[in-house]
């Protein structure tokens, strides 16, 4: 059977490829430092955000970022979004999407290389590998070693640490959806909602599997983004490039080769770039889907070049255009010029205009909203003095975190008066004032009476204003209906 398997792997007809273990070596350098920084920032943002407090007064939660599913509110610092304002969330998602396009167009797969959760957590898990098993060579030795008590002990220890990371990853997620300190208390006392535990369980399992075992396979086989990115990248996108015109032909003992009068490139074939790669590819094969442009091979190569006394950048961020120029002996364009790229600028334009439009509408929105529905059954009611009454179901949304008195006013209906709820027609005027609780919707039945003489369908308006406030209110156009003809 084993011979069959070998055949299968090498056969062009094979469908599945068995995973080859990737044991990336630790590397130091500028990009590695940058990756540490990004990892620290993204993890800090992820874990700490739900714990930031934000005072909104006594009627609203004091959590800075909260997706309050139970009450259909989304809080983001001073911004509060109601379900009918979901387009802000849609806008943010559109911005996130176009932002990815923008980043890709400008600096290639930077998202994949530095900020993608799969990258960050895989990086974290690989550091755990190094902590427990040692660096690359020790890991490979242990991997190939037969199962022994010490190997089992190491594996169990490593998996236990992975599990702790995975569980805290899943655990942190739920705090975005409920008051974090309260939920934390409930969580450990076993009184939290079942969905909290099941969410933690699912995210723990996926983190454990994706970060511990699947790693680069998620990027190479599962993620759609690399496929989309291959369409996004062009000759002017920054990609990690092995400068083969400089490196080839590779030579191991350079001195000896040159002594023999043979041509020799800068690449000394030390394989460091392959050993440090977290996805286990050889960048010298050229741009490929497995390359997440984390630039660790650049760090590794630069170090070697320094040791052999050659200029750095045999592997470097470089566009295909620049590669062509450098091949012909020219110098690459400065980075700013590379960024000044029509497509990048268009993405930037779209991205910023969506952002500006959202900020503008956020500034313009009123926190008082009116919705009037004309009762259809009956459409009108004849009263004993011969006048006509229409009923309206009015919903007043007070979207501020404090109770407010709201004045409803009817305008444009001749002889019309309005009253609400249990009030009576005697003494009714054109205005009705109702108290609306903080951050809530008041549903009130509004009765409007007017003389029978008039249009069969009379247009008028109902408006809502916060009493004693300057804020722009909301106005609805409504219809007052009267019986048709002789009745």
């Amino acid at each position: 059977m084993s011979s069959n398997n070998d055949l299968l792997v090498d056969s062009p007809l094979g469908v599945y490829q068995k995973r080859r273990g990737v044991f990336p070596k630790i590397v130091s350098g500028n990009f590695r430092r940058f990756k540490w920084l990004v990892m620290a920032v993204t993890l800090a943002v992820y874990y700490l955000t739900p714990w930031i407090r934000w005072d909104r007064g006594p009627y609203a939660p004091d959590q800075a970022v909260l997706v309050d599913m139970a009450h259909r509110r989304f809080y983001f610092f001073q911004i509060e979004i109601w379900p009918h304002e979901f387009y802000y969330v849609a806008g943010m998602l559109v911005m996130a999407g176009i932002g990815l396009f923008l980043v890709t167009s400008a600096v290639g797969r930077a998202w994949c290389g530095y900020a993608c959760p799969q990258t960050v957590w895989t990086d974290l898990f690989q550091h755990v590998d190094r902590l427990i098993d040692g660096d690359r060579n020790a890991q490979i030795r242990l991997h190939n070693a037969p199962w022994s008590p010490s190997k089992i002990a190491r594996r169990l220890l490593k998996w236990a640490i992975w599990l702790v990371i995975a569980a805290s990853t899943g655990g942190a997620w739920i705090f975005y959806f409920s008051d974090a300190p309260t939920l934390a208390g409930q969580l450990f006392s076993g009184t939290a909602a079942g969905v909290a535990y099941s969410t933690i369980f699912v995210l723990t399992v996926t983190t454990f599997i994706f970060g511990g075992f699947m790693r680069e396979q998620v990027c190479i086989y599962m993620c759609p983004w690399p496929r989309i990115q291959t369409a996004m990248l062009d000759e002017r996108s920054l990609i990690v490039t092995y400068k083969d015109w400089r490196g080839e032909p590779r030579s191991r003992g350079k001195k000896q080769v040159t002594d023999d009068g043979l041509p020799a490139g800068d690449c000394i074939d030390c394989n460091q770039c392959v050993q440090v790669c977290p996805t286990g590819i050889d960048i010298r094969d050229g741009a490929q889907i497995g390359c997440i442009t984390c630039a660790l091979c650049i760090d590794a190569c630069d170090k070697m070049m320094e040791q052999v006394g050659r200029p750095r950048g045999l592997i470097d961020y470089c566009t295909i255009d620049d590669a062509e120029i450098e091949k012909k002996g020219g110098t690459a364009k400065p980075i700013l010029e590379t960024l000044r790229h029509p497509r990048t600028l268009i993405y930037l334009g779209i991205w910023t205009s969506i952002g500006a439009a959202m900020v503008f509408t956020l500034g313009q929105r009123t926190r008082l909203d009116l919705n009037v529905q004309h009762d259809r059954n009956p459409v009108y009611v004849a009263l004993s003095d011969g006048s006509i009454r229409n009923n309206y179901t009015v919903k007043v949304r007070n979207m501020e975190g404090r109770p407010r008195d709201v004045t409803l006013r009817i305008e444009g209906l001749k002889g019309g008066v309005a009253w609400a709820g249990e009030a009576e027609r005697d003494g009714a005027t054109q205005t009705v004032t109702v108290p609306v609780a903080a951050d809530s919707v008041l549903k009130v039945r509004l009765f409007v009476a007017a003389p029978a003489e008039g249009e069969e369908r009379d247009d008028f308006t109902i408006s809502a204003h916060a009493a004693n406030e300057q804020e722009k209110g909301d106005t609805d156009e409504v219809v007052f209906e009267r019986p048709s003809g002789e009745q």
């Binding site: 007809l13 259809r376 249990e422 809530s440």
Partner: protein, 316 residues
């Protein structure tokens, strides 16, 4: 047949060893994970049929070890809902009906409960919007034959109007004046009644009806024709006519009388539902405060709630 098995060069896959006229079959078995999943599904399926109702028998299906049934689920949900409602219904039941509008939340709940009951028991006559029709009063307007405050509406629903074989029902009977008036007298009374609400100008004919009205009608309709609620005598001066306000309709009413019947609901509905129905009818726009109706209990009832305290369900 194993001796015929060989590795196919093109694909690197073993053959199954069969050969027909030179055609061979590659051995590409189902992946193990697929098979394991399949077996797991089979086991799960068998276990399911034992645990849950599954096998059809002659009159029903096997019950299953867990005893689960969708009917049981429904019963459980209904029980939970009944338990949830119990304290609300108890609160409504405990409160005198005329005091319910004073408690905003309770009133709003009662109105919703009444709306549901109305849709089942009342729409047949009063219509789904309670707008009524000829002979069936419109409950949205401000005209009440027997009174429109909570207690009176409650009384009307409880005991009905002219409900047969119910001693406490509201009773009033307009005589059929057909044989009592001469044709000219009848016409003048009709004219007088029409003039009361202004649908016909007062003239000599209607003036001739005034003394007849005073002699025959004021006991129930009042000296000014504004009706006497205690007697169930409708107000004739307003624009609302239960059986029509044109000349022919009024003539028919006076000649042959009317006898609208509403059942007494106290035998069919429980006391709490009737209270909720009263609240719903009261909320439709014509509900009166108790004080206006002059009921003795008025002192215990807060005056009409100002608009600012209009009951409304706050949706959060």
């Amino acid at each position: 047949m194993s001796e015929k098995q060989r590795i196919d060069e093109a694909t690197g896959t073993s053959t199954v060893g069969h050969e027909w006229d030179g055609i061979e079959e590659l051995n590409t078995p189902l992946p193990r994970w697929w098979l394991l999943t399949f077996y797991a599904c089979v086991i799960w399926g068998l276990a399911y049929t034992v645990m849950y109702p599954a096998w059809p028998m002659i009159s029903s299906a096997t019950a299953g070890m867990t005893g689960w049934s969708s009917r049981g689920d429904l019963a459980k949900e209904m029980k939970a809902e009944t338990e949830r409602r119990a304290p609300i219904l108890a609160a409504i039941s405990a409160k005198p009906v005329e005091q319910i509008p004073g408690d905003e939340k309770l009133y709003a709940t009662a109105v919703e409960g009444g709306r549901a009951a109305f849709k089942v028991h009342c729409v047949q006559c009063h219509g789904s919007g309670a707008a009524g029709s000829k002979g069936y009063p419109n409950l949205n307007d401000d005209d009440w034959i027997w009174g429109g405050d909570m207690a009176t509406i409650h009384q009307t629903i409880t005991h009905g109007i002219r409900a047969p074989e119910h001693a406490e029902t509201r009773m009033s009977q307009m005589p059929a004046f057909g044989g009592m008036f001469k044709p000219a007298e009848l016409s003048s009374v009709v004219a007088y009644v029409q003039s009361l609400s202004g649908s016909r100008p007062a003239d000599a004919v209607s003036a001739a009806g005034a003394p007849l009205f005073a002699a025959n009608c004021v006991q129930c309709h009042g000296p000014d024709g504004k009706g006497v609620r205690a007697m169930g005598g409708p107000n004739l001066t307003d624009k609302i006519w239960l059986y029509g306000g044109d000349e022919a309709a009024i003539r028919q009413t006076i000649t042959k009388s009317r006898y609208g019947v509403m059942p007494n609901w106290n035998q069919k509905l429980d006391a709490t539902t009737i209270k909720m129905l009263a609240a719903y009818v009261h909320s439709l726009g014509g509900g009166e405060a108790a004080a206006k109706a002059g009921v003795a209990a008025a002192a215990a009832v807060p005056a009409a709630t100002p608009a600012a305290e209009a009951p409304a369900s706050n949706v959060k």
